[in-house]
Symmetry: C2
Subunit: 438 residues, 2 copies
């Protein structure tokens, strides 16, 4: 009888070697990322799970026909070598072939930058993602998600998983995907809004990491039709500033984690981490006015922020407060969804906010209406029938604490952090109007 | 200028009080879960984010009209009280009302068990999820996911997020949801299979936690039309037993975490944690034969496991090896998808497995074909056109290490762990053929 015992399957990583494997024999595996035959010696760059390892190989041990993307195991002695990437190399003594590709790579991974046009790159995504820069983007993205979960778990939040096939959209508008659900009309969730509020009734504080679907018809460098939402919702808030504190707390944690554990990826991409420990807050109308005055641009629409205006507000925060982040608060009520709580001091505005990073929105949040009568009244003013939202409004009828929350676009945050100019670079397999594969 | 600094928003939890707050003044918030007026004293059970706190209130401080589900802040002195839940109570000195419900609860949360029929309970889900037993199920589920991520991150896996709107199904069959994607035919992902394999080419080891969609037309107590998949995929395996070791390693970690941090929820539900440190493995044909012989049931279909047969194999593992878990290996090739690697020793079978917990499948996994020619040939034998899977097969053409992976159904695992008899109890807002809300 064979038993499986749950032994760790951890293999030797680049980090293990760097951390103390010098002068020791080691056997490591990976793909041949780059191969340079210098005559008397062959330099093999091994792509490991994380990091690249230079392997110095005497020609006699190099398997016949060895090329890029063969998967191999290399055995030899690890040694310090200042000229090697990361200051480490292996003097190879043997190379075992584990698998061979059937064709050449459609791109050359050895170049520092791929230099492909966006459309070509996205079409070749499965190959392109093996490039060091692409890998770095998604390791940083992993760090952003790790910090989100770890921080919120520590703050007493419960992780939830809510349905993506829904009977009604939470955010209104026409940007919603329809599908047939056993003969009934259904939609793909535009956000977990109704469900995360519902879960505040059970757990006080919840978060979710999951896909969000928006059938945006326009193609911009900052929109995707499917993205990853980092959502949280918290009860018993004293004001919507508590929600902003939670976000800033998360961002501080994330920047600390990235600085500590993702320094090589940050260096490779030339990322400068923003500070998140003192984020200025400007009211919507005030932010518009200050940026318009300072940069001499007229305000065209008093109820909305255009992308150019967001960029100017970001610049203003940078120049006036030395901050890459800025909270813009008190958005006009007419631009916010029906569940947003109006400011009792001036109901033309809401107790809500966006967070801008380097001049682009990465988060939307605010306080929600918790009182049933207030919620039903606001829906009626907007021409909505509360009866259509019966199962959502059950929580308001049964009682809800004052609460609020936010949704962060993970790809948007990654893009602004890494200084990339198109959000498609921050989604492994982006979905836009024209792209359904890979 | 107002600045947000990222101060922790942590509030006083039940666990804080239990951990050392005795005899100290405290202010805690929560919902009135239960209210008992004993004449000279009012017992208020406060539902906190986790746990229930007994508040002993002199009638004079009780706000007029106070009822279940009002949200309140209670101030007073914490003290030990053996008869209170958790051995703790608060001698209330003041109660501040934070919000009031608009209607009575449709269910009474004070009963130990709700005792509703399934359909009623699911319709009232937003209210029902406030019940202590329901909360316990989903806290345990949170623990299962936490352990999955923490264990795999420690083992060198990278978390990924892959698209749920796809051009082609990965698992074949008719159980796939269709949608219109800007005039093109698209589907909801039946699994992240193609994408997680693709990411093995970039990161060697990856995992994903995300929704999975199956348009199953039948209604059973063990199927959902949308569930949460815990998926992993790992490269450079020596055999598919490496994948099974990774799963057992995760399960060991999960059981340790639950025992350490979720003991109250486990006790409330009467959960006995299974051991995962020595999981027996039986070949598919052998398992069928042994169970048939021991329990005197004939084998009806040599290529498939019926639910009753899974139950008998689970019982066999329990009786013969004292294990709640059992790996069933080497499933027939005709019952596994086209990407499954056949056993070179007997290609009627595959290098694959299911994991049963207490007689029900909770995981499917195995080694995948990494060689392009072998994959194309298997597709052709099945009447599939490799040209239809061009962007998936790019990874096989470009080269892939030997690799394998698995998918765990989170709700199924929760159900079997907690000993519940319907998977709908393990999904916050279950989707089945007839249910699209709440």
């Amino acid at each position: 009888m064979k038993f499986v015992t749950g032994t760790s399957t951890k293999t030797v990583t680049w980090q293990d070697l760097a951390g103390g494997g010098r002068n020791n024999p080691a056997a490591v595996h990976g793909a041949v990322h780059l191969l340079r035959d210098m005559g008397g010696v062959v330099f093999l760059t091994l792509r490991m799970a994380r990091g690249m390892l230079q392997c110095v190989c005497p020609p006699r041990i190099v398997p016949r026909g060895l090329r890029e993307e063969w998967c191999v195991e290399v055995s030899g002695a690890v040694r310090a070598e200042a000229r090697a990437p990361g200051g480490l190399e292996i003097a190879a003594e043997s190379i075992t072939v584990l698998s061979r590709p059937a064709a050449l790579m459609p791109v050359s991974l050895g170049r520092r930058r791929l230099g492909l046009n966006l459309d070509t790159e996205l079409g070749l995504r499965p190959a392109v993602l093996r490039h060091a820069r692409e890998r770095a983007v998604f390791k940083i993205q992993e760090g952003l998600v790790r910090a989100f979960r770890d921080y919120l778990t520590g703050e007493g939040f419960t992780e939830v998983h809510t349905p993506k096939i829904v009977r009604a959209g939470a955010e209104g508008g026409s940007n919603i995907f329809r599908l047939d659900y056993f003969g009934k009309k259904a939609y793909l969730a535009q956000s977990p809004q109704f469900y995360k509020q519902t879960m505040v009734g059970a757990f006080e504080r919840v978060f979710e990491v999951g896909p969000v679907f928006r059938a945006e018809k326009h193609a911009t460098p900052r929109h995707l039709n499917e993205y990853t939402g980092l959502d949280l919702e918290m009860g018993y808030i004293r004001s919507f500033y508590d929600v902003m504190e939670a976000e800033a707390g998360y961002l501080r944690r994330a920047m600390e984690l990235l600085a500590r554990e993702y320094d090589e990826e940050l260096a490779l991409l030339g990322v400068r981490l923003p500070r998140a420990d003192q984020i200025p807050c400007l009211r919507f109308d005030e932010a518009k006015r200050l940026a318009a005055e300072k940069y001499g641009c007229p305000i065209r629409d008093p109820y909305d922020l255009e992308p150019e205006e967001e960029a100017r507000i970001g610049r203003y925060a940078r120049e006036e407060y030395g901050s890459d982040f800025v909270f813009v608060t008190h958005y006009p009520s007419r631009k916010r969804p029906f569940y947003a709580m109006d400011d009792p001091d001036d109901p033309r505005y809401t107790l809500s906010f966006d967070l801008l990073l380097r001049g682009m929105e990465v988060t939307t949040g605010g306080q929600r209406i918790h009182d049933y009568a207030a919620q039903a009244a606001k829906m009626e003013v907007r021409g909505m029938d509360p009866g259509d939202f019966d199962s959502y409004l059950m929580i308001h009828r049964c009682g809800m604490p004052p609460h609020g929350g936010l949704g962060i676009g993970l790809e948007r945050l990654t893009m602004q952090l890494c200084g990339l100019d198109n959000i498609r670079y921050c989604s492994l397999f982006p979905r836009d109007r024209g792209r359904l594969e890979p």
